[in-house]
Symmetry: C2
Subunit: 419 residues, 2 copies
């Protein structure tokens, strides 16, 4: 009998290194041709399994697959689609099994955050619940760094490095201009519920007085008066003030700062953006000239400044997923385990999916300074190793050479299915 094929899919917001994980999965599977057939990648995540849109990665050359290691975005497409429970939508699970059976798929690798690990966990139960033998391994990925059990989540280290480097650079810019012009710079970063990305900006501060001077976390309720006072004190002491805010920073009543009522000319609420709201607030209160930036997708796709540690870990979790499957494991996720000792060392461990699914890990209070506007030494100790090392992509004509896939689809065998 032909060895079973793999279904691999990318889920949720993509990162600078989710393709590195894909590379780890595919290259490792190719080393075990006796026991693993082809790796089929779902087009647009789990949707590709439901619609039977499978990209045949065996049609890509070794050098294209190798180039995935340094290519940002999600090469096979991603989605924000969450499978319902068996009870709610049994038809979807039946369809998954039909597709898996039609294409001899015995391994399900799902690369994503907390929601995706829930999906992987549900698929793992298909063997028992529906009598189809499938090995399901979740693979961690999220810039938000909010997965439990693991030391950190692949994708986070690179966005952390981008944010720390960017704020170090922009801080020097503001400092140059502050005496006669701009005194305030606000950078908005991702993080709807957890402040890990904003926290990483704190790594740029090497000496007293260095930027960033204020960090706003979703974990700390926003207080306008305290914030505006801190801004004024900082400008008086340092001459300027650099602020980093999580997009999810909010008031005590849970209202996002970004939802503070910005309206367009027609009175429609304006699309988000905490940075302009904060800049407006400061300008109105203190009259300082402000500049602001919203990094948005630039931060999570910035492969050009990826963390070498993050790249290595992203590859390792992909590799481990295949090895776990070959070892007969099921319903688990490879995790990063930080080893004891002063020098940062890590190894791959494992966590059961039921412990990972749908759990969000916030910043511990001990990582946030007492005044709520910065990070502690403990937090810096945790974060620094994650941004260590540079892993530059190759360049041609001044631009990174990113992988271009042929994306040849596997021939469909089933009837159409509407999602």
């Amino acid at each position: 009998m032909a060895p079973k094929n793999v279904f691999y899919a990318q889920s949720g917001g993509v990162t600078a290194v989710i393709n590195t994980t894909a590379c780890g999965v595919i290259e490792t599977a190719r080393k075990h041709r006796d026991r693993i057939g082809k790796v089929y990648a779902g087009k647009n995540g789990i949707l590709g399994a439901l619609t039977e849109e499978l990209i045949d990665t065996s049609r890509e050359t070794a050098s294209t697959i190798s180039a995935l290691r340094h290519t940002p975005g999600g090469a096979f497409g991603s989605c924000r689609y969450k499978l319902k429970s068996f009870a709610e939508n049994r038809a979807e699970y039946i369809r998954l099994i039909d597709v898996f059976r039609a294409h001899n798929i015995g391994y399900f690798f799902y690369n994503g955050g907390g929601d995706s690990q829930d999906t992987a966990n549900k698929v793992a139960q298909l063997s028992d619940a529906m009598g189809y033998p499938i090995t399901s391994i979740g693979i961690p990925k999220t810039v938000d760094n909010d997965l439990p059990c693991t030391d950190n989540s692949p994708g986070f280290g690179s966005v952390a490095k981008y944010v720390a480097v960017s704020i170090k650079e922009a801080g020097l810019d503001v400092a140059s201009m502050s005496e006669s012009s701009t005194k305030i710079f606000v950078l908005e970063v991702m993080g709807r519920h957890a402040g890990w990305i904003a926290a990483a900006a704190g790594l740029a501060k090497e000496e007293d007085g260095d930027p960033p001077h204020i960090i706003l976390f979703p974990e700390i309720d926003f207080d306008t008066t305290r914030f505006l006072n801190k801004v004024k004190q900082t400008v008086r002491r340092i001459g300027y003030c650099v602020i980093v805010s999580s997009e999810g920073a909010h008031y005590k009543d849970a209202t996002f700062i970004a939802d503070a009522g910005l309206k367009d000319a027609f009175g429609h609420p304006q699309l988000g953006g905490v940075a302009p709201v904060l800049a407006d607030m400061i300008k109105t209160a203190h009259g300082y000239k402000c500049h602001w930036s919203v990094a948005d997708y630039l931060q999570r796709s910035a492969r050009h400044i990826a963390s070498a540690t993050d790249v290595a870990q992203a590859y390792a979790v992909g590799e481990a997923a295949v090895e776990f499957a070959l070892d007969g494991k099921n319903a688990v996720m490879p995790i990063i385990v930080r080893l004891p000792g002063k020098k940062y060392r890590w190894r791959i461990g494992e966590a059961p999916l039921e412990k990972v699914a749908n759990v969000e890990r916030m910043m511990p209070r001990s990582y946030i300074s007492r005044d709520g506007f910065g990070i502690t030494g403990k937090c810096r100790e945790y974060l620094f190793p994650l941004i260590a090392g540079e892993d530059y992509p190759p360049y041609r004509n001044g631009l990174p050479r990113y992988a271009r896939l042929k994306k040849i689809m596997v021939e469909k065998k089933l009837k159409k299915f509407s999602v």
Copy 2:
């Protein structure tokens, strides 16, 4: 008699490589100790000359000065202060001469854009107008690339590279998510009057269908209907649409898109931002899910992804300024001259300050595609060499090691002067 000292100052918005130019000036001056005394840097540009706040660069070590080569921002502080004419404010010129005389300054090097070259030109006339012998050399710098006479302006190549790399990366991100989520990404870049920076994003497009799909230039009047149609066509054809807009993009009546009436909760006009306005416009018209980013200072301080060509040219204009002065030249600015031939080669030339001062160079119409939403082959040919090569700063603990100056001030000899 002691050789004359140099006054060097940084003016206007800073760049990723203006300190590279400072490094070129100081290192070259140090090679000619027989003919050039010390290099005094104005604290906050020309303001430092007026207030007699001079930073003694001779107190910095060779390795600190060398590190300026890879340090973004303006190490000595910059300003947006324009000297008035002799007639309007003779007192300022008398003060400049008093400061120059008190500190034996015989060379004036002013590093900036069009306004700053005007200042350098006025100072050059001091010799004749006020009987004080001074050699004044302008040194080009502006991310806007709008200086005339020179092939390009140091500072531009690096922001161009940042924008092209970022849009290539973010484009891959949007493409991954477009089928089930975000279909639109808008990046706002600098350029109040000239669209050069936005144009550079166009370099990311290597094949038909690649992002960016729409570029908005200040040189082309914005037409809402044409824009929204182009967005819809692009989404229908490609599945998503990546837009890059100059901050200065405007309607036919000169109203900035960014000023389209965004108001905060109190009805105050909101601080700029063309990206959120465009995203809002698209969401309202077509209902697409949009993401947007405002790069702001991140783009012009992004030394981590500087263009090697830009770094080399920024150093060369600093070096040339000193050499010009030693050659007895006055009232000139070193320029970049592009040599004929298929391979990009350049040399340093010179232009009289009177031809440079206060002239803004816009994008030629032949560089913008017929529909006004993209760049032409001719433009690509011009731009590509300017982003060529990487020049990474050194890193420690995952972060770039940027220069920290002691900034020891020269002792004041004169009475206080109020600016």
